[in-house]
Subunit: 362 residues, 4 copies
Amino acid sequence: MGNSFGSLFRVTSFGESHGGAVGVIVDGCPSNIDIDLDAVQHELTRRRPGQSHITTPRKEPDQLEVLSGIFKGKTLGTPIAMMVRNQDANPKAYDHLKAVFRPSHADYTYQEKFGIRNWQGGGRSSARETIARVAAGAIAKQVLTQIAPIEILAYVIQIHQIRAHVDSDAVQAADIEANIVRCPDPAIAKEMITRIEVARKEGDSVGGVIACVCRGVPAGWGEPVFDKIKADLSKAMMSLPASMGIEMGSGFAGVEMTGKAHNDAFYMDDDGQVRTKTNFSGGTQGGITNGEPILFRTAFKPTATIFSTQDTVTEDKKNTTLAAKGRHDPCVLPRAVPIVEAMAALVLLDHALRHQARKGGS
Amino acid sequence: MGNSFGSLFRVTSFGESHGGAVGVIVDGCPSNIDIDLDAVQHELTRRRPGQSHITTPRKEPDQLEVLSGIFKGKTLGTPIAMMVRNQDANPKAYDHLKAVFRPSHADYTYQEKFGIRNWQGGGRSSARETIARVAAGAIAKQVLTQIAPIEILAYVIQIHQIRAHVDSDAVQAADIEANIVRCPDPAIAKEMITRIEVARKEGDSVGGVIACVCRGVPAGWGEPVFDKIKADLSKAMMSLPASMGIEMGSGFAGVEMTGKAHNDAFYMDDDGQVRTKTNFSGGTQGGITNGEPILFRTAFKPTATIFSTQDTVTEDKKNTTLAAKGRHDPCVLPRAVPIVEAMAALVLLDHALRHQARKGGS
Amino acid sequence: MGNSFGSLFRVTSFGESHGGAVGVIVDGCPSNIDIDLDAVQHELTRRRPGQSHITTPRKEPDQLEVLSGIFKGKTLGTPIAMMVRNQDANPKAYDHLKAVFRPSHADYTYQEKFGIRNWQGGGRSSARETIARVAAGAIAKQVLTQIAPIEILAYVIQIHQIRAHVDSDAVQAADIEANIVRCPDPAIAKEMITRIEVARKEGDSVGGVIACVCRGVPAGWGEPVFDKIKADLSKAMMSLPASMGIEMGSGFAGVEMTGKAHNDAFYMDDDGQVRTKTNFSGGTQGGITNGEPILFRTAFKPTATIFSTQDTVTEDKKNTTLAAKGRHDPCVLPRAVPIVEAMAALVLLDHALRHQARKGGS
Amino acid sequence: MGNSFGSLFRVTSFGESHGGAVGVIVDGCPSNIDIDLDAVQHELTRRRPGQSHITTPRKEPDQLEVLSGIFKGKTLGTPIAMMVRNQDANPKAYDHLKAVFRPSHADYTYQEKFGIRNWQGGGRSSARETIARVAAGAIAKQVLTQIAPIEILAYVIQIHQIRAHVDSDAVQAADIEANIVRCPDPAIAKEMITRIEVARKEGDSVGGVIACVCRGVPAGWGEPVFDKIKADLSKAMMSLPASMGIEMGSGFAGVEMTGKAHNDAFYMDDDGQVRTKTNFSGGTQGGITNGEPILFRTAFKPTATIFSTQDTVTEDKKNTTLAAKGRHDPCVLPRAVPIVEAMAALVLLDHALRHQARKGGS
């Protein structure tokens, strides 16, 4: 359980880091929609390891294979199955982890839960499972643009203690892809890259914050009470490896404002659209989109894999120490950008279909 | 859709602020468990309006009625239906809101979504729906204690710009209930109460942050990938009215640490238990509990209902102004404390049952 | 678990025979639709006990109370909660059943499953739970007619060994309601009534078969593979108390035909519609409606409550005998007719919304 | 949607007849259980085409590939992904079906639903999708035997008008596999084979009935109201291609009995077990297993593919005729036997886990 996401556009994920493959079934995709598989591959490539010197050197081409659901370039309305074979797997490199739990990894908790675990590269707890999210999200992005002119952009705004200030209304995809850390502020991006290089040299790691803006989402998406848009986006982001917090709109800082300052006054714009003068709400009210950009930020902890000796315990419950070997990302954020976008797309499309269902066939 | 929560311990909620009743069906409750209905009523009373001079004066006794599922004090394993009649409903007080959208409320988005709304007291978007959460959560709390010595405590740690510093390991229920703002730091609590009184006098409102600690949760609960404990807790909290952010463990502040400082080293304690020296992870790793206390904080925005004139638009899309009348909470946090606890209980019990199912009947 | 039905038009049911009330929450109902509550009450009245001398004399007015979700006669799009109070409950009449299991009832299996049961009137296993189905189905029927000119008619075609032959294309609602056994063949209906009277006098019971035709359902509803229309209708009917079999279209008799005779040839009708010359498929192919009437038949066993001495065992596992007392239906079929219609309506509307969702917002 | 089955042991299926592969993800499998992959392949081989002269000559080895979820022969508790590549695909053989609807096939209804279809070999509506069911069911069978000594046996009891009479208490697996039609009555089996040969020669087809017995299922599995065991088994069987009816226990024939004859009297057996003297209920009461064998029968229509000229219509809605070419099964029943067993296993294991969850961790 727990390997499916979404209610109507529903993705089910599989795969271990060093098993045969990782992949996903997308069920509920509307039919007869053109799919550009190169665009799906492009998203996987934005996520893949080895893409720059500040990511892990593990070499995986992460080549997409589509097994079903697309016929002559169009969706059939049947399940779209996609997978990526694991290639640069080196199981022996993990022999020293067979019987010891890495601190702040999932080794201990998986062992407690399942009584067994695949210790090779983290098995199912490896961030390699996010391939499934990115592939499915790339399909969702394409379907969303058939519904409305929706644009989903994520970008790095903080690495360790270095903060960028980015105008979420103005930021463009090209600004984000302009550097390897995916921060649209070029000067700060350089500092961030240097900070990650320092962490790598020190065998240490750093975390950060990714912002995301979703533009062009129509008013009316989202469900009252439990399945609010903000609730489902939060679940989506907090289901990611290493995420530690999420905030919408004004977020934690909004707490320091009073209601008079924080309320988003409505007005009619020149096109006869209801708009708000400010967007402290982050694009939703009562859990339902109001037509303003959806804004949220997700915090990611520093990577748990570090190269210094740490105290830990063995599987047979004795104290020991562990010094990690192998390959790792000194900072997950550059590769997490397309993952955040993918999860946002999955949430939005699922709610688009749920909203459509509401219309009841009339 | 969107009115159910949980997969095995599944609650389905109903009710408008000024309809006949609000209530809940709890499906999947284990059978043959003693239920103390006074304890359920006690939680409702902690949530009810009019409980102190810093909450809304709306007078609702919020008296629980159980319609099914409990027989001679024990759960039958069949659906437990509970409801509370709406009493102090004054529909006429809302006549001025029939055709105008209150800023930062759900009036506009409900109208866009449904093409109709109950404008009386916010209808379904009223925080009165949280009665269902609290009643169901009170059942969940009682079932949880049959499984393990689990204690769930929420408390206010920030009101507007006033912050308390509370030791989550030491805090006790009595400390929280010792004052009307539910902050276990008595000196800071007084300041907070004063701050809320000021907001009330000014026709303004304030927000804040609620912390929650869940002690005694066994290792192994939670599901990999999408249904991580941190993901489901985040969805639960971000489904609450007025919540704007959630963070687990070190949260947003953890971003400023490096991996060496942030990793939670394991060790064997004197009882032969695996423990961690620090708890920056907040009690879960890989989405699964590790036996340490679960720690999270939720930010709530300042109440949207304020008593000054605001710019807004009418249902027929003209600019207008609105000055709120009626009753409201100048700060939702004191009453939100039992709601946060209830939602945490729902998430934990659902995962307890999911973990139990895993054992496969063997 | 197991008390919800449907994925988008989702009903959740509660209530024991002798608890406070039985009822239902309908989640996912399209908004802004006129609801005639008298029509809902009418369906409950068709189902209620004591409606004729061939049904149980238990006196229950089964008066509907709506708690939420309808505002000024229209659906809000929020959960519609409805309930009926139990009135003619006589718990003492069941004292002799506290510690003994009635044959072919659910007493033993509930006890094995839950370790506890409400022995008063069968508790949750009482057919009184079908009130929830009928109330929800009555809402669904009204929503369906907003989508297409859909008509759902169920009727009795067999009681014990007495069979009627009814033209499913020609049968009208008035023919069905013209007699108390709800068989549209008046001559056979008289024989059926006599047969039930005989069973009653002998302290015995009889079963039968109910046919159902759903006219006006558009082509294209239903989902491939697991959620075929025929699969969901079968689940719906086989979830009813006392049902023992279901067949679609040609059913078990179709087995004796060859493919050449059984295939439904397509042709274009005068209105340019694709039609089939025969309808052995019963209105669906590949699990999806083809625009022809949906046809199915459900078998119901003879009522398990009989008034003769039967061998059985006690709760503490000793052989004993039991002679039933109290009130019962000598034949459930007349009252099951509106229940079959209600379940068919729930399945069809759920699939209508699922099909609508497929359109993806475009 | 509609490509998943089960709530806790949840399978999600993918694949078209002539796409790259058909396969399945099994989510929720208990961990640390030994899996014999040869036994899984054995079930696929029982289902595969070309296994005898009374099945289609399409040559598919249907070789299983496991992509995830099993590590050193044991389940990890993570998703088990399995697939089979399509090999003997001959897309050109279907060119004549591009623009015409085969009678009693899903061509027309898929086109109406999706606006597109893969016409090659029926695409998603091909019975090739049942590979996913059989592979998942083979895993379920192995897990079930870890819980209780459960045996699931399906067998043919009717082909066209030829009926076998088989003692469901005595029948053994070897009796079923002793002949190519999978009818455990050897004399009748010969007649059935001859009947199928005749149908093949005439370019015609025949249907039949498959019985299934599930022995060793403990009392207490199944959920009240909607998710009764009989309801979920009915959905499972009626989701199969070509199924037209299902009956439990006494089924449609039970209608001709009275309650006195039909009730299953309880007694204590020599081992102190509660048993019933008869089993007209078919192993469940109130939707919950009573410990007796579960008994049901499923009717399958004659194969829709026949080799004579039939009236039909074209995609652009003109009358035409169609004479099928290619390969087909003159009778689906021999290959449907392992599919019925697989679906029964999926239902039973899902309910085993649901029942286990009920225990609540205590």
